[in-house]
C-alpha cells in the first residue's frame, strides 16, 4: 500500500508540475467542447427552432392558396414572406440566398383542385351506382395542380425532403377535406353549402424514448458535444501517459524502479490511478461547463439526468479504458515522438469511428461495423443513455463491460510486451 500511494503521489506531483501537459489535458478538451458545441449548434437545432425564410407567391384567390399559406405560417418552421413579383424574380432572390425556399401557388390552383376532386367523386358515385350531381368535367382533361417549389443551392437533401414533406402534409389534408366536402354535397344536397368542418387527425403519434421513460431530453449540440469531447479529452491523456512512461525509461528512472521492491502491477496501478483521477476531473469539469457555461453562451444547458452514480460508473469505465490504452502505447513505443504521433492519430480514428464528430447512424454500413470496436463509441453510447434517456446501470452494463474488458486487454498486452522487452 505504501508503494502504491508513493507512486500515485509521485505521478500526481509530476502531473501538476507539467504545465503544458495540464493545458493539453484540461484546456484543450474544454476549448473543444465549447467550440464544437457552438459550431454544431445550428445543425443540431431542429427546424422548428430555426424559422427558415420562405418566399411565397400566392396567385390563387381560393381556399388552397389560403390554406397552404396559413399552413406554412402556422407550422412554426417557416418565416413566410408574401411576394407579389414574378416567379423569375422570386427564383433570383432564392438563388442569391436571401430566402432559402420559394413557393408559387398558381392562380387557378383551387379551381383545378376542386374540379379534379369533383371529377373523382362523380366517377366514384357512378361506380357505386349512385346518381352523380355534377358531370360537367367528364369530357374535360383535368391535370393535377402543380406548385413550383425551389430551394437555395446549398440546401441539403434531407432538409429539402423535410420541407416538401411539410408542404405535402398541408396539401394532403386540404385534398382530403375538399374530397369529403364534395362527397357530402353529393350525398346530402341539403347540407352542401353548410360550412365545412375541419377534419382532425385520425392517427396520432406519441413520441417518447425507446425505454419508455416519461421525461425526454432531445439530442442537441450540447448533449452531443459535451460527452463526445469529454471522452476525446479523456482518451487524449494517452499522449501524456505514454510520454511519461517513455521518459522514465529513457532517463533511467524506470531502470531504478525495476531494481526496487514492488511489482510491475504496483507501479502500473499507481500510474493508472493517478491518470484515472485526471480523467475523472476532466469529466467533472466538462459536465460543469455544460451545465453552467454553455447557457451563458446562448447554448442549451446540459441535462445529465439524476443518476449520478451511473454517471460516475461510466466515467470510471471510460477513464480506465483510456489509461489502459495509454499504458499500452507507452509500453510499445520507444520514443516520445512515436508514441505521441501514434497516440494522437489513433485517438482521432477511434473518435471518428465512435461518433464523436457525426453520429454513427449516418455513417456507411461498413464504418458502422468498425464503430462497434471503438471504446469511444461504447463510452459515448453509455453517456448519452444516461444523459438523454435516464438510463440506469441495467441499460448500459454491456458498454461498461466492454470498456472494462478493453482496459484489462490493453494492460495484459502491455504487461506481456514489457516482460518481453526486459528480457
Amino acid at each position: 500500500m505504501l508503494r502504491l500511494s508513493a507512486t500515485i503521489r509521485k505521478e500526481m506531483l509530476l502531473l501538476i508540475r507539467d504545465k503544458s501537459g495540464l493545458a493539453v489535458m484540461f484546456l484543450m478538451p474544454m476549448a473543444l467542447v465549447i467550440l464544437m458545441a457552438l459550431i454544431q449548434d445550428a445543425p443540431f437545432r431542429d427546424y422548428q427552432e430555426l424559422k427558415i425564410p420562405l418566399l411565397l407567391i400566392n396567385k390563387d384567390d381560393g381556399a388552397l392558396g389560403e390554406k397552404i399559406e396559413s399552413g406554412l405560417a402556422g407550422s412554426n418552421i417557416f418565416e413566410v414572406t408574401r411576394f407579389t413579383g414574378t416567379e423569375q424574380e422570386a427564383r433570383k432572390k432564392v438563388t442569391q440566398g436571401v430566402y432559402e425556399i420559394g413557393i408559387v401557388i398558381p392562380a387557378d390552383a383551387t379551381k383545378n383542385l376542386d374540379r379534379r376532386v369533383q371529377n373523382f367523386v362523380d366517377e366514384t358515385m357512378l361506380d357505386l351506382g349512385l346518381p352523380a350531381n355534377d358531370t360537367t368535367s367528364q369530357d374535360t382533361l383535368i391535370t393535377e395542380t402543380s406548385l413550383p417549389v425551389f430551394f437555395a443551392p446549398d440546401i441539403k437533401k434531407s432538409f429539402k425532403n423535410s420541407v416538401l414533406s411539410s408542404i405535402r402534409h398541408v396539401a394532403s389534408r386540404l385534398e382530403t377535406q375538399t374530397m369529403l366536402e364534395a362527397f357530402k354535397r353529393e350525398l346530402n344536397e341539403g347540407t352542401a353549402d353548410s360550412s365545412p368542418e375541419e377534419i382532425g387527425e385520425f392517427i396520432r403519434f406519441e413520441e417518447s424514448t425507446a425505454s419508455g421513460t416519461a421525461s425526454v431530453y432531445e439530442l442537441n449540440s450540447v448533449q452531443h458535444n459535451v460527452p463526445a469531447w469529454t471522452l476525446f479529452g479523456m482518451f487524449f491523456i494517452v499522449i501524456s501517459l505514454a510520454g511519461s512512461m517513455i521518459k522514465e525509461r529513457t532517463d533511467g528512472s524506470y531502470l531504478r524502479i525495476r531494481t526496487m521492491p514492488g511489482s510491475y502491477a504496483t507501479v502500473m496501478s499507481g500510474k493508472v490511478l493517478a491518470y484515472l483521477a485526471v480523467c475523472l476531473s476532466q469529466c467533472a469539469l466538462m459536465i460543469l461547463a455544460g451545465i453552467y457555461i454553455m447557457p451563458l453562451l446562448g447554448l442549451p444547458q446540459l441535462q445529465i439526468g439524476s443518476n449520478l452514480i451511473t454517471i460516475l460508473l461510466v466515467a470510471l469505465s471510460c477513464g480506465l479504458a483510456a489509461t489502459g490504452f495509454g499504458v499500452l502505447v507507452g509500453t510499445v513505443f520507444n520514443t516520445h515522438q512515436q508514441s505521441s504521433t501514434f497516440g494522437s492519430v489513433s485517438v482521432v480514428i477511434l473518435a471518428a469511428l465512435g461518433g464523436i464528430w457525426v453520429p454513427v447512424y449516418v455513417m456507411p454500413e461498413i464504418i458502422r461495423i468498425f464503430a462497434e470496436f471503438s471504446p469511444l463509441y461504447w463510452g459515448l453510447n453509455a453517456f448519452q443513455s444516461v444523459f438523454l434517456g435516464h438510463g440506469n446501470i441495467v441499460d448500459i452494463w454491456k458498454h461498461l463491460i466492454k470498456l472494462l474488458l478493453f482496459f484489462l486487454f490493453t494492460l495484459s498486452i502491455a504487461s506481456f510486451i514489457n516482460k518481453h522487452k526486459n528480457n
Binding site: R3, A6, T7, K10, D251, G252, S253, I257, T259, P261
Partner: protein, 249 residues
C-alpha cells in the same frame, strides 16, 4: 571485512538475439562481503551486460548468479531488498525536488515517516545539498545531480551497491567527496561493485579489480597484485597492455 561470498557468478553467458558473438562468455567470479570490486573494460566489453544481469535487469542465457545465496529467478524480492544500483544516468525525476525524489524512493523500499525524513536530511547534509533540498533536480548542477543520484542508491542501507561510473562528468571536489564517502560506506560493511573508465580512481578505490574484454574476464586480482604481475607502472598501463590501444565503439 567478512569472508563469505556476497555474490557468486558461475559460467555466465549472455547471447543477444541476432548477435554473432556472446556479449558475456562463460565468466565466473566471486565477490567477498565488504569488498570494493571494480569491473573495468573498454566500451562494448560486456560490463553493462554483466552488471545488468547481476542487478536482475537482464536474464542470462546460461550460468548461475547468486547474491547472498539467493537467485533472481527464485528470490527476486529478497535480492531487491539487499541490493541497489546507482546508474550512470541521473535516474531521478527532474521536475521533483530532492526531498520528493528521495521520499518516493524511500517509500518504495518500505521506509516512511520520521525514520525516512531523518535519513534524507542526514544524507543531504553529508553531501552538501541541504540548502537546495527543496529545489527541483532540473535546477541542479552536474555534480549536485551525481550526489543526489548516489544518495538515492544508498538511502535504504543496501548490503551491495552497484555503481556505474558514479563520478563521470563531475568536478574534482565532488569526485573527492563521492569516493571518500564510498570508502566510508565500505568500512561500515557495504559491498561495492563499481565500473569506471577512470583508472586512477579505480586503482585508488578498489580492493579487487576484474578486467573484462570481448565478454571474457582477462585479469582479476587486487590492483597492486595485477600491476606487479604484469610489470606495469599503474592500472592504466595494465589496462592498455591487456585490452590494446585500438579504438573501440
Amino acid at each position: 571485512m567478512g569472508t563469505a561470498a556476497a555474490l557468486e557468478v558461475r559460467d555466465l553467458v549472455k547471447n543477444y538475439k541476432g548477435a554473432a558473438v556472446p556479449a558475456v562468455n562463460k565468466i565466473s567470479f566471486s565477490i567477498t562481503n565488504g569488498e570494493i570490486w571494480g569491473l573495468l573494460g573498454p566500451n562494448g566489453a560486456g560490463k553493462t551486460t554483466t552488471i545488468s544481469i547481476l542487478c536482475g535487469l537482464l536474464k542470462q542465457t546460461a550460468g548461475d548468479v547468486r547474491i547472498k545465496g539467493y537467485t533472481h529467478q527464485k528470490n527476486s524480492k529478497q535480492i531487491k531488498e539487499l541490493i541497489s544500483i546507482v546508474p550512470q544516468d541521473i535516474a531521478l525525476y527532474p521536475a521533483l525536488t530532492a526531498v520528493e525524489n528521495l521520499q518516493y524512493i524511500g517509500n518504495m523500499y518500505g521506509l516512511k515517516g520520521s525514520e525516512l525524513n531523518k535519513r534524507i536530511h542526514t544524507y543531504l547534509e553529508i553531501f552538501g545539498l541541504k540548502e537546495v533540498a527543496g529545489k527541483r533536480i532540473e535546477t541542479y548542477s552536474g555534480g549536485m545531480k551525481r550526489r543526489i543520484n548516489l544518495i538515492a542508491g544508498i538511502l535504504h542501507d543496501p548490503q551491495i551497491v552497484f555503481l556505474d561510473e558514479p563520478t563521470v562528468g563531475v568536478d574534482v571536489q565532488s569526485r573527492n567527496m563521492i569516493t571518500t564517502f564510498l570508502q566510508d560506506l565500505n568500512k561500515k560493511g557495504t559491498t561495492i561493485v563499481y565500473t569506471s573508465h577512470l583508472m586512477e580512481e579505480a586503482q585508488h578505490l578498489c580492493t579487487h579489480i576484474a578486467i573484462i574484454d570481448h565478454g571474457v574476464i582477462i585479469a582479476s586480482g587486487s590492483p597492486d597484485e595485477l600491476i606487479r604481475m604484469h610489470s606495469c607502472r599503474n592500472l592504466e598501463d595494465l589496462f592498455l597492455k591487456l585490452t590494446g590501444r585500438k579504438l573501440r565503439d
